[in-house]
């Protein structure tokens, strides 16, 4: 005996396809109820009609419409009106699904991180131009550490003379024309605002990543954690990647060059940005990268499957391990011949 069902009907038939009993639902003008039923079927659960018939025929095997095991029979298929209703409901379900995509932190993080990358490169280009531009008119100025206040200073100065006074240098003989100075000043102003926007963007990235990837964030810092997550196309995918892949994420060019030509494989990808690697001597970087990638992979798994996030103590343990590796290899290895 077989219990056939779809979203609007259920029927019981024997192996010859003779129908013994059936129940049809005609409430399909209620879209909410219809969507509930479609959800129910998507989860392989029984609809109310199927439940009723299952109680009447407990030995009938319930199967959803279209299953290959079902015999051919005159199943009570949906009417034209029912089909029109289900089409509308399917479109509505899709609309809800698309709307739900906005709640996906992976997608949000990707936009945030890419935006902050683009903002950073814009800011750096503008700042470099500003320094060169000011340097042309005020050749005496030396910008050591304190470049960050320059955009603000330029933006606040009404003329080159004023800026020279601020920066404590002599006013040169050659100066810009009025409109030229105005452009330079506005350039300085926007450089300043771009810096502010960049900071806000990065803070937003940090905030979202600390929620989305708490363990990975505390281990690698939120910005690096966000980059790994975006590069892996999402938290769940990152969690499923092997540690070796996490280690070289972001070094795809070198990695595929290695596959193609047999050159040395890359030791690290984005993970290099972490001071444990970038501040370590060259000959232990590969070893540390391998350890860190393994740990990062575990952290990503904890985050993706919502385990108890790591705390600073766990990170300190890793810090000790990194120091051990460094202590075990104090000198560069001897080259073979």
């Amino acid at each position: 005996m077989w219990l056939w069902y779809d979203w609007q009907a259920a029927a019981v038939a024997d192996d010859e396809g003779i129908i013994h009993d059936q129940a049809v639902w005609d409430g399909f003008f209620d879209q909410r109820a219809l969507i509930e039923r479609l959800d129910c079927i998507a989860n392989n659960a029984l609809t109310p009609e199927a439940k009723t018939l299952h109680e009447r025929f407990p030995d009938a095997k319930p199967l959803i419409h279209g299953d290959g095991q079902l015999p051919d029979a005159e199943w009570p298929l949906p009417s034209h009106e029912a089909l029109e209703a289900v089409d509308k409901a399917a479109a509505e379900m899709t609309r809800q699904g698309v709307a739900r995509a906005a709640g996906d932190p992976d997608r949000r993080l990707e936009h945030l991180l890419r935006a902050s990358d683009e903002m950073r490169s814009t800011y750096l280009t503008m700042e470099a131009r500003l320094v060169e531009w000011v340097g042309l008119f005020l050749p005496e100025v030396r910008f050591g550490k304190d470049r960050t206040s320059l955009p603000k200073r330029v933006g606040e100065s009404d003329s080159l003379e004023m800026l020279a006074k601020h920066l404590d240098v002599q006013v040169p003989d050659e100066g810009p024309s009025k409109s030229e100075w105005k452009s330079l000043r506005e350039w300085g102003e926007s450089t300043g605002t771009f810096k502010g926007k960049l900071d806000r963007l990065e803070n937003a990235v940090r905030e979202l990543t600390e929620q989305h990837l708490p363990s990975l964030s505390i281990m690698l810092g939120p910005l690096l954690a966000a980059r790994l997550c975006v590069e892996a196309h999402g938290r769940m995918r990152l969690a499923r990647l092997p540690a070796g892949t996490v280690q070289v994420l972001g070094a795809e060019k070198a990695f595929f060059h290695h596959l193609k030509t047999g050159a040395d494989p890359p030791k690290h990808g984005h993970i290099f940005m972490h001071p444990w690697i970038s501040r370590s001597p060259r000959w232990v970087r590969g070893k540390i990268a391998r350890t860190m990638a393994a740990k990062a992979s575990i952290a990503a798994k904890i985050d993706a499957f919502e385990g108890t996030p790591w705390t600073q103590d766990d990170v300190d343990l890793m810090d000790n391990r990194v120091e051990e590796i460094k202590a075990a290899h104090p000198k560069p290895p001897r080259r073979n011949r």
Binding site: H65, G66, G68, L77, L83, D87, M93, T94, V98, R100
Partner: protein, 228 residues
Amino acid sequence: MLSWAIRLEGRALWTENADPGTATYGESLRRFGGIEFRRWDPSRSKLGAGIMRTRRDKSLLLPKEGSTVLYLGAGHGTSISHLHDHLCGEDNDLGGRIIAVDLAPRCLRDLLHLAKARPGLVPVLGDARKHSAWGVLLPRKVDWLFQDVAQSGQVEIFIDACRRFLSLDGTGLLSLKAASERWTGEGEDALFAKVQMQLSKSGFVVEECIELTGYEDNHVLFVTRRVE
């Protein structure tokens, strides 16, 4: 004329616009005898490219107007809009039905807009492999199925979908992207030959193998008929 809605003018395909006055993806609109047509750009649509390239009767690639079809890997709806012109017509006069399945919410966003103006088009957000989620939308088998999912295991997905949804003697079109399959080191031709073998073993007659090079590189469109 290829069908009531599709015409071939020189080297360009045109379909009668089911949503007059609107271009879906920036294609050109033009009137023939007072009726508005949209240009079907074969380099944006693998189905369109297949129709341009086929050596057999072009209308063999098309479903019967007014029927129900299944389209896996709907994308942004470029091909689908033209398919809809042919299958449904304005306000779905012909009573056609396109179940368009795609996995990416970004694509469905465009498809939903398309579906608003084109009744008969049913956009479904779902995995082409997971039949249980959307299979109940098709009470009967379809006579025409198109698949264009650029992911590995395309052929298995196609065979599974056809077994469940394609009627006997129905036409199944598979657009195969070589780069999505595992590189075996034997070259693309070997890969396409292997797929052809696999299809014929699984109960399909491969009627034509259309190379889309020029319109869409490294793609082949398999035209198959289900025989068992």
